[in-house]
């Protein structure tokens, strides 16, 4: 029998707001694709929480690092693999796209404390041959 995921307790609270502020908000979130105001506000709340988690640096998080590199520069490909293996306990999974003859995109899902995720990302992004990199600071999803 499939284990049923624990149902979380839902509470409800009210917000007072000027009509003009609310109507501008409704208009903007609908342009973003939202069909429910509550969901848009919950997303603002969750974004705020995830930002604070990353600022504190101590909680377990998920970082998704994307790097674009030229695989013909020195031995950058081998180097990137070495750094990943040194951090195999933090790197959950990766995805690779061959962009053209020379350029590669590598996406790494890193699960660790925020400070460690940043360290691994800095190390990978600073290698010669890596042209560009960016880190999405997201969450393991628990309790938010």
């Amino acid at each position: 029998m499939r284990k049923k995921a624990r149902k979380e307790k839902v509470v409800r609270f009210g917000i007072s707001i000027t009509e003009s502020l609310l109507s501008r908000y409704d208009e903007l979130i609908s342009a973003k694709g939202y069909t429910q105001r509550s969901e848009a506000i919950r997303d603002l709340i969750r974004n705020f929480i995830v930002e604070q988690e990353w600022a504190s640096g101590d909680e377990e998080t998920i970082g998704v690092l994307s790097i674009v590199y030229d695989h013909e520069v020195g031995d950058v490909g081998d180097l990137l693999i070495d750094i990943q293996h040194e951090n195999y306990e933090s790197i959950v999974s990766s995805l690779h796209v061959h962009l053209d003859e020379r350029n590669c995109l590598e996406v790494l899902v890193i699960k660790d404390k925020a400070s460690k995720v940043k360290l691994i990302s800095d190390e990978l992004m600073s290698r010669k041959g890596v042209k560009h990199g960016g880190l999405v600071k997201t969450t393991i999803g628990k309790g938010i």
Copy 2:
């Protein structure tokens, strides 16, 4: 007799949220100095609206540009004043601080469409002698 500012109509709506998400939020906003959850959420909403206003570029906004410059580099001081005068219709006010023998801080309040504010800011920040600059993208405050 002092003219009474128009009272804006206030409405109220409810949000459902899991208890765990709400309690984490309450904790974090209290660390930021908030005493009321409603006010913290209204601030999230207003931040979102102001961001969108700046992304669209067409509405009248307030930008506050801060630049740090070395007044001994060429004639940077005169240049900055010239650029400001060319844009006197957009620049509401300015504040100057002498940081040390060489370095100055100049803060400019710019009121115009977002795209124009960025243009003036870029022009000032790219001058030789200007070491650092930053723009706060804020709002005229109407309707939010």
Copy 3:
């Protein structure tokens, strides 16, 4: 015979800078993992170019979207797949990680004009059940 990638022409130019500024810079980039100052500066230049590409919105780019969602909320999983199929020409590849019983991480590599990548990302992030999302704005790597 393997086709040899075209060798790009390399040029060299000089920069004058105060000794104090340069020594602070060298210290900071070495803490980030850089072993060559040139590479750190090329990375600053490339970051600047990619930012401008995204600001203009018209060039072909790569966006890597990461979303964390609760697969037990409504039919969010099906919805996300539908939206991806509607945009199959832009979505190059995806990676999925089961974070826990309820939470999923999905990473999508999107190749299109910046404006289109943002549109697809907004549509996915605004769905009910999607708790958090973030977009890395990167590059196809050509010419940079």
Copy 4:
């Protein structure tokens, strides 16, 4: 006799870069108003240094906080002045603009460690009546 500011020692170094990358860069900085490539690169370097200063939180910096508030909400005006006086040693100067009948813009120049500047800013931005706020994280200008 006016004291002559100390002349800083200037050094020169070279950068190798592909021609295509350099020509795209030159084009973009010229659109931003730069007339010299060196100055644009020095600005990138200085921006990077100031960001790192703020991330470390321990060095003396300048923060310029801009807040927009509705002076008819409670006693927000008095509160803001109280908080400023409690921090008079950090707040160098301020500028005020009456935006309309209700809305005010207040700009504060704050000189302290980055962590303290953020604390003061959070305290002011979280007050009821303060609609929007933003902080420019800049520098005292020494050595950069």
